[in-house]
């Protein structure tokens, strides 16, 4: 099986291309899967998370995956963030310190994930210069995304993360992908109706909506993320099943992909030059909390 991978940006086209890769290879078993990257003249490094998820799934089906004809500039960035180490290349030093390592986690690995975030963001003073409040809110957002994957995905194959700093644009992108049941199935099972994948994401992102049941409440993580992104002037994109959902400039856009992604991807892009204070409302007295 051969697949020609086009340029991969973290946008609708990039997600659609990766969903197409999944669609064309999902029935491969004990096969030789060759990903031809001749035409991949750019690869937004944080997209290694959904790309790696699809390739990991192929490996779990006992396929041999080979990435061939990689453009040298793409090979360099995917070697710097450790992605190509999973496919036989050596990791090379990142002298510009703009990459955030590609990593796979199991759902029980929350402690490892915390350590990873510490190593990749908290202890790396070279990236990027952000106000301490923004840095704190960014960390919290990343953990909210990871927690969502842990609590809701029911994945057995893991959670994949990767990031990239774009200093010229004052942007930091971070993407988390899982190979779980997807938003649509959870929402439709919960509501007992038949929403489209994009409608299901919109429902899940609305304040207080949750598919959670049982003694621990939910229904806040995604709306907190959206509030933060609105204040920061960044962007959040969610892909699940064949649904694509984006929030930017306080406006939401939802559409369909032609093929489904086998799980859920959340990408956040934050504006690192934002000086906002991130106090979401006026100060609260202690006796006003409960």
């Amino acid at each position: 099986m051969n697949f020609a991978l086009p340029t991969i940006l973290h946008d609708w086209n990039g997600f659609a291309a990766l969903a197409r890769l999944h669609s064309q290879t999902e029935h491969c078993f004990l096969d030789n899967v060759e990903i031809d990257m001749k035409a991949t003249d750019w690869f937004d490094a944080d997209m290694c998370a959904p790309f790696g998820a699809i390739l990991y799934r192929l490996g779990a089906e006992l396929n041999s995956v080979h990435l061939v004809d990689i453009d040298p500039s793409v090979e360099k960035i995917l070697s710097q963030n450790g992605f190509l180490s999973y496919y036989g290349r050596e990791q090379i030093p990142d002298y510009w310190k703009t990459t955030v390592t590609y990593q796979r986690f199991d759902v029980e690995d929350d402690k490892y994930f915390s350590k990873y975030i510490e190593n990749e963001f908290i202890r790396r003073y070279e990236i990027p210069k952000m106000s301490s409040r923004l840095m704190k809110k960014f960390h919290e957002s990343i953990f909210e995304i990871f927690s969502n994957a842990v609590l809701h995905s029911h994945t057995k194959l893991g959670i994949f993360s990767c990031g990239q700093f774009f200093p010229k644009n004052n942007c930091l992108d971070f993407t988390v992908a899982d190979l779980g049941v997807g938003v649509r199935k959870r929402v439709c099972d919960y509501l007992g109706n038949n929403l489209s994948p994009a409608e299901a994401i919109s429902w899940a992102a609305a304040k207080n909506n949750t598919t959670k049941q049982g003694p621990i409440p939910g229904g806040l993580g995604l709306s907190l993320l959206c509030d933060f992104i609105d204040l920061n002037g960044g962007c959040i994109q969610i892909v699940s099943d064949a649904g694509y959902w984006r929030r930017k400039n306080k406006r939401t856009y939802a559409s369909s992909l032609h093929q489904p992604f086998p799980g859920t991807v959340v990408n956040v892009e934050i504006n690192t030059a934002d000086p906002s204070s991130y106090i979401l409302s006026s100060e609260l007295a202690d006796n006003e909390i409960f």
């Binding site: 704190k136 003694p215 939910g218 806040l220 106090i279």
Partner: protein, 121 residues
């Protein structure tokens, strides 16, 4: 007269990153045990740098499924918490109150709490 007790979130979790639902559950179990005894609790967030809604839902939001809102307000207070974290906690509390307005969820939480107590004995 019973003295109020103090619980350090950092001590329970063992990290400044209070992000996982499982760690929140550990805090919840201590809080619930104290509230069941009618003891006032001061929950200290000293040295905690990062909080998520998942952690706070498990640690505190969950209490609203097992205890009356007024009882929680009477017995529980937080200390050493940054102002933006207080705002987050308030949102978690509001969401929990809304969540448990669904009688099915409330019944389920009560059942689950009773099962926990049975398991303890």
């Amino acid at each position: 007269m019973n003295k109020d007790i103090s619980i350090s979130v950092f001590e329970v979790v063992g990290s400044p990153l209070c992000v996982a639902s499982g760690d929140g559950q550990k805090v919840h179990d201590r809080l619930a045990a104290a509230l069941r005894q009618g003891r006032g609790v001061s929950l200290s967030f000293r040295n905690v740098t990062t909080l998520t809604s998942a952690f706070l839902n498990a640690a505190i939001g969950q209490l609203y499924g097992g205890f009356d809102e007024n009882r929680i307000r009477e017995l529980l207070n937080v200390a050493d918490m940054e102002s933006d974290d207080k705002v987050l906690l308030r949102r978690v509390v509001d969401t929990a109150k809304w969540y448990f307005r669904d009688p099915n969820r409330f019944e389920e939480a009560l059942r689950s709490g009773m099962e926990d107590e049975d398991g303890d004995s």
